[in-house]
């Protein structure tokens, strides 16, 4: 098998699914992860012969170690890692429980540390690799009710910049994509009033499409993006311009 391996976390639906499909189109053999066996099966189904779904709990260090080992043994060292898996536990800070804070930091940020560390060994040896983190516009702007989520998403950006400096000499790039409001199950949960106010503040006057995020990831994974590292690309319809 000569195809390069791309590992995408949280690939059963939403942005992760679009990324996995796009990277498969680009010629990668894609390993997509999901938290359940059902999710993993659905990934295998949509990727057909171009990839495989695998069960992974990104909040569990043992699960990460097992999955990365299995991917290395069964398919090969990932050339691309997309840290996409993420959850929300929104609440005003004054009502936020420790558990809501910890769940988000563990699942959305600590997972990025563990996954990146686990795949870097192979990338360093290969003298090549791409790590792409899916952050959020909220990590740059903040959002009332999302202190935990915004902290984790901002954390990913600082993490990416630091690792970009650490492993740049080994021809490994580490970048971040910060989506704005994209039409997914996650944004479907937003209230109607909030959504209307939001649309008024987006110059392009619409939510983004998951494929628009996938396209950006595809670019960062491509040969053409070889000289881009430590960068955050905002894909948000103009909602926020850094």
């Amino acid at each position: 098998m000569t195809k390069q391996i791309a590992l995408v976390t949280g690939a059963s639906r939403g942005i992760g699914k679009a990324i996995a499909e796009r990277l498969a189109e680009d010629g990668f053999f894609v390993v997509g992860t999901a938290t359940s066996d059902n999710g993993a099966d659905s990934i295998s189904a949509y990727l057909t012969e171009n990839g495989k779904g695998i069960k992974l709990d990104v909040a569990d260090p043992e699960s990460i170690a097992e999955v990365v080992k299995a991917v290395n043994d069964d398919f090969g060292t990932p050339a691309v890692l997309v840290n996409n898996a993420g959850i929300t536990r929104d609440n005003l800070l004054m009502r936020m429980k420790d558990e809501e804070w910890n769940d988000i930091i563990t699942t959305n940020l600590t997972s990025v540390f563990r996954m990146s560390k686990a795949v870097l060994r192979g990338m360093i040896k290969a003298r090549a690799g791409r790590i792409i983190n899916i952050s959020s516009v909220v990590g740059a702007t903040g959002n009332a009710g999302q202190a935990n989520y915004a902290a984790a998403k901002a954390g990913m950006i600082g993490f990416a910049k630091s690792i970009a400096k650490e492993v740049g000499s080994r021809n490994i790039t580490v970048n971040t994509v910060a989506p704005g409001f994209i039409a997914t199950d996650m944004t479907k949960a937003l209230g109607e009033d909030f959504k209307n106010a939001l649309l008024a503040s987006i110059p392009l006057s619409r939510l983004g499409d998951v494929r628009e995020i996938a396209h950006t990831v595809s670019f960062l994974a491509s040969e053409g993006a070889a000289y881009i590292t430590g960068e955050t690309i905002h894909v948000n319809g103009g909602l926020f311009m850094p």
Partner: protein, 76 residues
Amino acid sequence: MSNVEERVKKIVAEQLGVKEDIATDASFVDDLGADSLDTVELVMALEEEFECEIPDDEAEKITTVQQAIDYVEKNA
């Protein structure tokens, strides 16, 4: 030269691109020009050569050729 010493020196030479003879008491960073990531890679290469897993807190203590030899002789 012991077999372990020979294998360790070979790996050090490969990883750090050292062409001259390597002294046993050579420090990776101070004498052989390694940066911190080089030392991480060196430990990875030692783990593979000697089929062992070197824990991070042990790996940090391996800063010279002799220390690498000692570690391998004791643990691998």
